[in-house]
Symmetry: D3
Subunit: 323 residues, 6 copies
């Protein structure tokens, strides 16, 4: 128990640090991105699957950069189907189609969206999408501080924009019912799902597991684990940059997205999670504006609820969608 006890976590709702132009920043960011057509592409996989249609999917994300993923749907479905957007944890790529069979087997389409630049060293879940942009300042190894000296240059501005646009990609797919799109992810994927739910009001639900990038100012003080420590290493190296760094991060903190999100949400948190400390998860959860539930895993670390939580999500959506 390196963080607060559960009874204090239940009520933990710290002040948010929100830039005055937060909404303007994101409105302008998304508007600029919209200048690039989505240009989705789907290439059917020749893997001998009988129960699912698998497509190598890609589209134009921020700056028109090509973002890859997988699109899977139950074999021969005629739609319209509810669709789960699946965003990925730090360091991973889209992996393999068979990693994503849960939702199509349950009758959903799923659009797996890569996080640009990540997955190049993941033997278990490799990725291919590059991030063609670097940063105007020296960075710490990893993605956390790429462009961190300026919110407009920051890596996650591109990532969150990709993710918001991916919902448009899904919504435009002939098999998908645009009114039944659900965002989901764990850790970094949870941070992305939170951001998308805060930036667009048309998602039906959010499944957010042990989200990263939430209440960042506390996280960097209480955890010694990566990836939050990438930020600390940058602050240790680029002395005097803290004010500028935290100013940038305020545009990307999950608390500010959660406070705007109105969709129903199913969260999960693990009390022994030293990567995304439980107080930072509850901070986001307690700011979430929409209807919400949270599953607490008292004895787990960052793996959280694992497959149990996947089954919780399956049941949650089943009930929510009334199917």
């Amino acid at each position: 128990m390196f963080d607060l006890p559960l009874d204090r976590l239940r009520d933990y709702r710290p002040e948010r640090d929100e830039p005055a132009d937060f909404d303007a920043f994101w409105a302008q960011t998304l508007a600029e991105a919209a200048n690039h057509p989505l240009d989705p592409e789907y290439v059917r996989s020749d893997l001998p699957y009988a129960g699912v249609d698998v497509f190598d999917a890609s589209f134009a994300g921020w700056g028109g950069d090509r973002i890859s993923g997988w699109f899977l749907a139950p074999r021969g479905a005629s739609g319209p189907l509810p669709c789960v957007m699946h965003y990925i944890g730090y360091g991973g790529g889209r992996g393999f189609p068979h990693n994503h069979l849960l939702w199509p087997t349950a009758g959903y389409a799923v659009l797996v969206v890569e996080t640009r630049g990540q997955g190049g060293a993941s033997a278990g879940s490799p990725g291919i999408t590059g991030d063609p942009h670097g940063g105007a300042h020296a960075q710490a190894p990893g993605m956390m501080t790429r462009g961190i000296m300026d919110p407009r240059d920051y890596y996650y501005r591109r990532v969150f924009t990709d993710a918001v646009r991916a919902v448009d990609v899904a919504a435009a797919h002939p098999l998908v019912d645009p009114a039944r799109i659900v965002v989901s992810g764990g850790s970094q994927g949870g941070a992305i799902a939170q951001a998308v739910a805060g930036l667009r009001s048309d998602v039906l639900a959010a499944l957010v597991d042990v989200p990263f990038l939430s209440h960042i100012s506390r996280a960097v003080e209480i955890t010694g684990q990566d990836p939050y420590q990438e930020i600390v290493r940058f602050l240790a190296g680029v002395r005097g940059s803290a004010e500028q760094v935290f100013r940038t991060l305020a545009y990307f903190d999950g608390l500010n997205f959660a406070a705007r999100a109105t969709a129903p949400a199913l969260y999960s948190v693990a009390l022994m999670d030293e990567v995304c400390p439980p107080s930072t998860v509850f901070a986001a959860y307690n700011h979430w504006r929409g209807p919400k539930e949270i599953t607490v895993w008292p004895w787990n670390g960052h793996e959280g609820g694992g497959g149990f939580q996947s089954e919780e999500q399956l049941r949650y959506l089943h009930k929510l969608l009334g199917d």
Copy 2:
């Protein structure tokens, strides 16, 4: 490259250490086990899957002990279906049904078989099956030395027997075509698949990834990793037991099973694997009596080919089964 270079591995086929009564030992073991009826049970899962039928499966293994697993088949299939037996790596349990959707999505039934006693500390792939038996001698923590002073008391005698009987369970399932049963697994799961393929001539094919428990006498000398090190710790503690220990292990070494196996096999090996060193994998592969292929992953450790290998297997079986 801590082991031999690839060109030497290709030809590496060491002498086997085989007890004179190897076949008698196993014949008697399986005959004794056969006194217990298989007594399979299938409980349908209420998880809302549309594309697959999921059953909590169990049967009576060695000594009549209850062994759990999952049985999955494409929704509404009328059979007879080919069936993949899936054995599990060291320390894991059956996990969750959605971990095993690959085969049913490809049109196969799959029977996931737990390894008794394991999975109790696996957050990612938990298990439930106990091993009600201990050992007649003090052991090292873990399963590798439980009962190791006597082949009849050794833990893997029970495990391999469970696995052989699980094929009977699958063969008896109304949806399964008993002539098209494939054994598969990685690491410990690969060792079990090798053993089953060596002990019964009726399996159609074997998918063996980075198998454990092969050429054990070499493995314990060249790797400092668990689980092989459990044996070394026992030898270090119970001084003077080496002869007896290696006598026991000879009944369980994958080389002796491979030398009896006649089914076609697809192996995989990783050249940087320090858990199951590549020379020990090639030793088994080069002794395999049946038709065989091996995929070499030169830059990977014990994760081997990961999802890439799963797709290789999908294509391999697709071609083999001519569907």
Copy 3:
């Protein structure tokens, strides 16, 4: 100082969690065990010791399983002698007779009692006694969770029963004065000594060093060390089992034994002990019903007082026994 400061430890006496049928559970357990005759055996060692008689000792423990140990007495003593029961720390076996010369050199008999199943990987203190029983559920590696889903199936039910019966074995030895039997041990050995002192009122004294298995619910929350972490790994793997697990552990928690023990006790505790945190030791000590003293080692970890404490014990018993 990762635990409470010393002045708070002195008064730390938390509520106990005691099952209503605690006494019945143990009465029945011991009664069942009593159906097996003790059947002690002593084989004289041929090691050329001039000052001590050494016997390879064994007896029938729980379920009639054979438990080994050493029995040593001053050479040629005619008795009746006071006898020290020595229980062993986690992972160790009985070791060698020369590890146990302290008490016979001081004029006592000593009966060293193995902990079933342990010692198979201890180069320094090897053991031979097996635990022929496994568990009905998958477990975490190690002994801590073997059978933990049911108090009747739990590993330490067998261990504590062995230990209680070992006192009968000692008491029946012609050299031993049954009115002067002392229980002793450190860490797991301390836990066993506590349990025996709580389960039978006829021990003369208890020497309890840095005891394990005391105030378990707190221990698993504040220490990240093994063996307590074996329990946490089980809880992380077998999600949802916490209530059942802690229900089982309540029958084995040192606090409940200490609250029943009436013999004089000499405890020791180390303030930097992260394996058996000092608050969990004081919790047991402060519940001990009999006369008691505690030696505090402020700068030591789990090694506690080491040989200094052995000399404290020597003087303590010397004074207590008035010899």
Copy 4:
């Protein structure tokens, strides 16, 4: 001694893997870069140094991107001075002017050149220069695999070009004698110095310490250390990419630059260096075309000769320059 013994190292001169268009590739790269004017800027530091003039230096590197560094010269020198180019080890930035006083105190100018993108997490030697370019493919954390799937996209194409152009910057400085420019660096800095010396024939000498990026195909097989391991992690994640990756690296391997370099060189190597293994250093040294000497540090790791080697270099240049 994890690598070859010294007597075999002395003669170790493996075949080089050189692309047919190696020279064309670099000629075109440098020609393209030459389209951007150098645009050097020098901002005098206000630090109260009496013996040295310190300038915050920058210029337009590859693609016109701004590259920072320090320019130091003896206070009030009127030139023309010999100038040492100093390139920096992996992960570091330019640090502070007082880290670079050795050469100006000895009568030289020094131009410290940052490695774009690096130094953002170096508390000891922070950097500021960003690399505004990412890569077309997912990468492993760090710089080693940014753009590695295509030589034209590879990170070190930009870095080596920056370094070549920095010599032009130095040569154009009014205090610097363009005929007496020396390139220097350790580890990655040594790799850069080697590359510059191979790409331009007008450097007077090279000081190359424990160079990185030399004989890369061997290095990735014999060392388990970063940064070479970044490449291995990429190969493990992006299975099947090895041919393409090594094709790219052949344009950047120090052996191919050394084989073109004609300036006199002073190398150093450390026999216990597991980061840049001695055989890979000798491989480059033994291919160096110009006059050469090497200092062998038999008992050191990657720190090599440290300050001793700096003094060796001081004396070497002093003698070479005849001052």
Copy 5:
């Protein structure tokens, strides 16, 4: 944040534990040492430096033992110059002259003073000065407990005396202005600078970075890092020695020197410093009697302000000395 938050650190001024004869102890120590003539020696280096005169310096320290260092001054300076005394961090030696060019380049002389016995395993900053004295009691490896059972036998008595006498050496140098001598150092060097400033009132200023050996009784309780842990290991081994050990350390604790120091001081502290915890640094700072400033590095560990702090010191002295 493993220590107190910054607002509490600002006011953290614990009671000091000062022996009654603290001043007498040091007066006598220094008086005894004064029986040995200083006997300074300066051997000019033949390294080809144009801007600085470098001397291999040595003198007779405590007990007449020879203490080495470097003396550097701007080339051809005629004096009198202000002189910076530079004391060295734990485990290091004087290193190389080029490690110490900052002060002579800024117009100061610098006398680098080795810490006897240290630097023999420092590849980066090697030392040569031996400590010909051992201790009357067994010790823990390292220097922290050499002679710790008696203040007169304690290692730091010799070290602090050497350091005090080194000021006399500097003051006697023809180039040095004895009225403008500044003491400086980081970690152990900061402890030494603090001690010298507390023992002699004639130093002009003190530059104290992340000082070691301050508020030792707290440090050993809150940090698990070396070198403070050397003391804990001694207390764990030599049970019962704590009172004697802390009695000795009271004569060497920085708090007692700071409380006597009247010179102006520039401190630095790092809030993530687990080697010299920030509360122990503020404890010394808040007891410092003279005028004082402190630079706080919130995101750094024991590296503190690094080169930034050096530049702070440069400006601080520049301003203080009015040059």
Copy 6:
């Protein structure tokens, strides 16, 4: 198996590096030491042992420095008894009398001899004897490089001299038969026993376990473990000192003592010992001049044969002494 295979070890007998004046050096050293009277003191312990007499023993070692230990003999023995000299492993002290009961229980006297300066951080086996001498040069932490630049100044010159004189102390004890003195020890203790057996021809036998300080030039190249690594760290720090260091070590290498020893010896070696690699042990063993046996522990590390070897020794001496 990080060292040679057993069949090559059996014959491994490398050339020795012996200084021409080796015998003169030691003759002079011991002669000088002999100027100090032995001055033994024995203080009877008041611990309530009935079977043994325990004395806190001390004597004047090298330079007259006080060396402590324990002297134990069977209670009330009238002598003359054979006596075992017990020398101690690196870092330990004499510990407690009950650690040394094996020999007196078997009818021998035992004289435990501390290694000066060591044991101050050993919670398990604390020591008290100081080494009042330091070294003329900076050293690496630990004892291995104290005075290593000169054989006359080297730490082990004092240690080996203490050990040789301890035999005189034992021989002079009224209970001891000077014709039946046996030297023994493990690791450093084995090195000391070897040295004593090489320096005096009157010891009856030697018990040498996994000896340290043998074939040092090979050991420092093949092991990365302490304490040999202390030497490597020194060589890495004090560059250029290797010739001088190895010149010193040649006076202390076990090979040169073994080649002079004529007493019967029982060695032990462990094939997985990375602290004292088996080739260095066999190198000494194969040079031993007297009758010899060696016990090989194939599966153990530096713990070697542990208590099994103690029992081997018990039987070996029992047979040798014909009692």
